[in-house]
Symmetry: C2
Subunit: 622 residues, 2 copies
């Protein structure tokens, strides 16, 4: 165990190839730089003591080349000379008869004036870089100027990444039911390489104790660290702990974190070995929490101090006592506060990491955090990126992805971050200043108006803008060919129909409930009425996969997954935002896309199910 | 001109190899992930409608395998089944006679309970990554899980780096007077590669118009950008602008910045070409200011928003009107303020960039900034590194480099940043809370005491500690063998002796002046008395290079450069610091090295000229 936390030895490499490597010993100057006295000006090298007493009335004449020599800037001072007179301070006198030139000067020179002296930048033996320093481009220049051609840097830890699992297939192998693409190996290799070590990905090993043992015992011979992916739980086909125990020793099995509990750490023949949980979020978090510090220790790097910020959490997050939980959150700056919105918490929701701006840690002894409380979150993106992100909370629509992409295309600096909490959630987010903009499509039954009555009711104290994005078609998403022949709301009550619903507070749920109420139908009579999804695409996916026969959603979602559709209503989808948000440059950029980008308009139309005739039009303002 | 600012086209590459590349188009999911319904628990797949009415009193029995099937977590739900009952909620009943097993359940199941459904992570067609996005490890995982094996990323701009200059030699070529190591090519290549493009370094080209033309006209054929290093001024051997003008067009020659004025931008046959100034600091700054945004534009990246902080500037910086000047500064946090200390300003002082923490911009129409004014500086290192840096301002000693290295070795997180302003400057820096610690060796002539009388006089209101670092030998540094036979102070007045002095306020200058005063000698009678250097090593270098015959300095500096030495006095070199600073963890770490690191003690002794008997001892405190 003792040696495993020691810093690694160095290896000499070409200075020019040392970017981002870590110095294994101090780099001191072998030579002084500059290496010789040189002229700092265009002018004449002279001897300063030959200029004593020079003045306007008593100019001193110096003969070329014996007493004065012309030099360009940067040229070495010839032996015996010890000052430079600038060309503009010299009067050149040609004596054509004698075939020679003199210079005349009218001011005495100081010793070594206008000379760039040896060691002005660095004197031999002085320190250029300390050890444990990550080499930057400028350090490469300085090390070369200091006379080094090679530099002693820490050997890169070599890491073997071994995916296991009989159900796992390599990317590109056609998927069938029960098969899972190995996305972990390349993701982990990316992390490992980013830490400054070098990852080698192994072929997938089946769930077979002997096969895994064979591969691992080979891998430890040539790697400092071996990561065995999956099989680290205690299931009947989880062999990792047995492999480590049989070949070496297991130091730890299981950590009190979520996601990431089934982590294993051990040693085999002097190499470190870890069993990394197979769920991608668990894999990411355990590698980040446990493997990165080990590699940094080997490299002589300090463990990073990740930037943290204080943010207001939008909604209550409860967490089980007894486990430290890592919640991925989106963060945006709205007004003068940072606002954090939790993302999906499942260990398999990789997109929660793709979309995350920060990580919120709920301590083991906490039951969670209440809505509107202030929390410290660890940033996963630069703060400047977060400041440049438009926070959009509200109703889901498929154009939001497209809009995000067009924003990023035309204004690479800006991002659009969407959270789907339904139209009412969006209006409340605007009220609580937790979002810059909200998508909403709420029909007021009394007036037949969209959105405006809700703004008047819920945002009476705000000066807001309501801007149309699209009109869209809502209806029942059904499988191709409508095999169960669903044509009316009444059909939802049929014994052979499983429905999939949306969450409360969404415009789509309101529409469903209005249709049912109009016909006097109770939700309790509909199978699946209590099963909810959070986006139109999730509803479409439930229908496509056979999990449900139908659900209310937009035509665009049905088209995207090749499904059929029974129209119910055309509705208006608007953005609501305060006038303050409307004036922020990044929001202006967003409306530039919405109003002026012809290709965005065409792309929206090509998705199907949209009417863009009012796109970007201000429908209402207060 | 028009096309030169267009974003680059994409190229398809292996997803696994795409770390840090930039997406050239949106990445949407080709497959839903998960791809099939799977069990989220260990348990039995069942049909939910077969469980209606199950309760403790009316358990429902299901036959294996017709009505219930055991599944491990992650296994696919077999066709026809639509819910999972957890193993702990099941009572297994063996009917050995009939050779079969049943399960008994006491609670009805909801549709799709404990099933991880298709598309839970991402639904086919949904956006995984927008275009113009820099790919991270997690993005690689998500793209693979979304069914991609290849990904369309922006082609890396290819950049040719062409060093020019007849005086330039490749690293490793033995240096002679007049020759300069090409440190620019590798430094610039490092910068260029760090921006996400790919640099190719060319061999050095002599100052010959035709040769340079020939190389450049070849290079533009295969590169998007060609950088010609040096020769961009208007001197007689500066060919870059002629080359660009003859082969294509020159768009700009000269920018109003310092350092970096002689920049050239142009176009040849559709490729961008730049003439980069040859002084390393000018090269670095012009590449950072002008080349980086161009490459980022091509890649579809936003220009970065560098972090800025507000810092108090320690001393007045004057700057010529009419040029925007970039001043490299060291930054530290002392108390609750950031303090900035300007570094060497010459365009050839590469170490000013190595040591810089931030860049201060003096606008063209400003004459500079006054001492104690607040300025905004652009950080060049992470803020967390700056918070972990001990600011040491005061007297120079060779052990400071060694101490820095030992600190970084044992505590990689911490740094020591030294500025050499002399002992008095150090005490004033402590008084003004501009430094954590100061090195000082001030002899009070009246009492014969070191440092304490000065602390009592200048720091009466501070609670301070005075801790010894070393005793050291001061004397006259002379060339090997003492060729001019310098043995006493009197010798300094000799006509054949050129002296090199230290700046006012240094302990060494005080010592020199005391020695002269004791003998009634005036500085005016000494040649070179007004020429000053800022460190012992610079004085030693002046002697070694023949610029001066002698100067007062420490024995260690003489030993380092292989010089001889005439002893004058043994003196005490202490650190002075406030009790507040003394209690900061990073300062505690520094004193841990000073007091407990045997190898630091031995390394100091091995340098020669030091007595370490009181190293780390508290000499005085208030």
């Amino acid at each position: 165990m003792k040696g495993i936390l020691n810093v690694f030895h160095g290896e000499a490499i070409d200075v020019a190839a040392s970017l981002d490597r870590i110095t294994a010993e101090p780099v001191t100057a072998l030579l002084s730089s500059p290496f010789f006295h040189s002229s700092a000006m265009d002018g004449y090298a002279i001897r300063f003591d030959a200029t004593f007493g020079a003045s306007e009335t008593t100019p001193v004449r110096l003969r070329i080349p014996d007493d004065a020599l012309y030099l360009n800037t940067g040229e070495p001072i010839p032996d015996g000379f010890n000052a430079v007179i600038m060309i503009e301070d010299v009067n050149v006198i040609k004596d054509a008869a004698a075939g020679r030139e003199d210079i005349e000067i009218i001011k005495a020179a100081a010793p070594y004036q206008h000379i760039r002296v040896i060691g002005e930048d660095i004197v031999a033996t002085e320190l250029i870089l300390p050890e444990n320093h990550k080499i930057r481009a400028i350090d490469i220049g300085a090390a070369l100027a200091g006379g080094h051609t090679h530099i002693n840097v820490r050997k890169r830890p070599s890491v073997a990444v071994i995916p296991t699992g009989s159900e796992i297939v390599a990317p590109g192998v056609p998927l069938t039911k029960g098969r899972i693409i190995d996305s972990n190996s390349a993701m982990i290799a990316g992390l490992i390489n980013g830490y400054g070590s070098s990852a080698a990905c192994y072929p997938i090993v089946k769930d077979n104790l002997d096969e895994i043992k064979c591969v691992v015992s080979e891998a430890v011979k040539s790697h400092d660290l071996v990561l065995i992916i999956a099989g680290s739980s205690a299931g009947s086909r989880d062999y990792t702990s047995t492999v480590i125990r049989d070949l070496g020793q297991c130091i730890l099995h299981g950590v009190n974190i979520k996601p990431g509990r089934p982590l294993i750490l051990g040693m085999i023949d002097g190499s470190a070995v870890a069993g990394i949980p197979g769920y991608p979020v668990s894999a990411y978090i355990t590698v980040d929490l446990f493997i990165k510090p080990l590699i940094h220790k080997w490299l002589g790097l300090s463990s990073e101090q990740p930037e943290t910020i204080t943010a207001v959490i939008g909604r209550t997050i409860s967490s089980a006592i007894g486990q430290e939980e890592f919640i991925r959150v989106k963060v945006g700056k709205v007004g003068d506060r940072f606002v954090a919105t939790p993302l999906g918490r499942g260990a398999g929701i990789m997109m929660s990491l793709v979309r995350a701006d920060a990580m919120l840690t709920i301590p083991a002894m906490s039951e969670g955090v209440g809505a509107a409380s202030e929390v410290n979150v660890r940033l996963m993106r630069p703060k400047s990126d977060i400041l440049d992100t438009i926070v959009c909370i509200g109703s889901h629509d498929n154009t939001l992805d497209v809009l995000y992409n067009f924003l990023k295309r035309k204004y690479p600096r800006y991002s659009l971050s969407s959270a789907h909490v339904g139209s009412m959630g969006g209006i409340i987010a605007i009220k609580k200043h937790e979002a810059h903009i909200a998508g909403t499509h709420l029909l007021d039954e009394k007036t037949g108006l969209y959105n405006i009555p809700f703004i008047e009711k819920y945002l009476p104290d705000e000066r807001v803008m309501l801007v149309n994005l699209v009109y869209r078609q809502q209806g029942f998403i059904v499988r191709q060919g409508n095999p169960k022949n669903i044509t009316t709301i009444d059909d939802l009550q049929r014994a052979d129909i499983i429905f999939i619903n949306r969450q409360l507070g969404t415009g789509t749920r309101l529409l469903t409930d209005k249709c049912l109420r109009d016909l006097g139908i109770s939700g309790r009579t509909i199978k699946g009425y209590d099963t909810i999804e959070y986006t139109h695409m999730a509803v479409a996916s439930a229908v496509a996969s056979g999990r449900a026969d139908t659900g209310m959603g937009i035509l665009t979602a049905a088209i995207a997954l090749g499904l059929d559709f029974v129209p119910v209503a055309k509705e208006r989808y608007d953005f609501v935002l305060t006038r303050d948000s409307y004036a922020i440059p990044m929001v202006e950029a967003l409306f530039d896309i919405i109003r002026n980008d012809e290709e965005f308009r065409l792309t929206t139309l090509r998705m199907g199910g949209y009417d863009v005739s009012d796109m970007g039009k201000v429908m209402y303002s207060t």
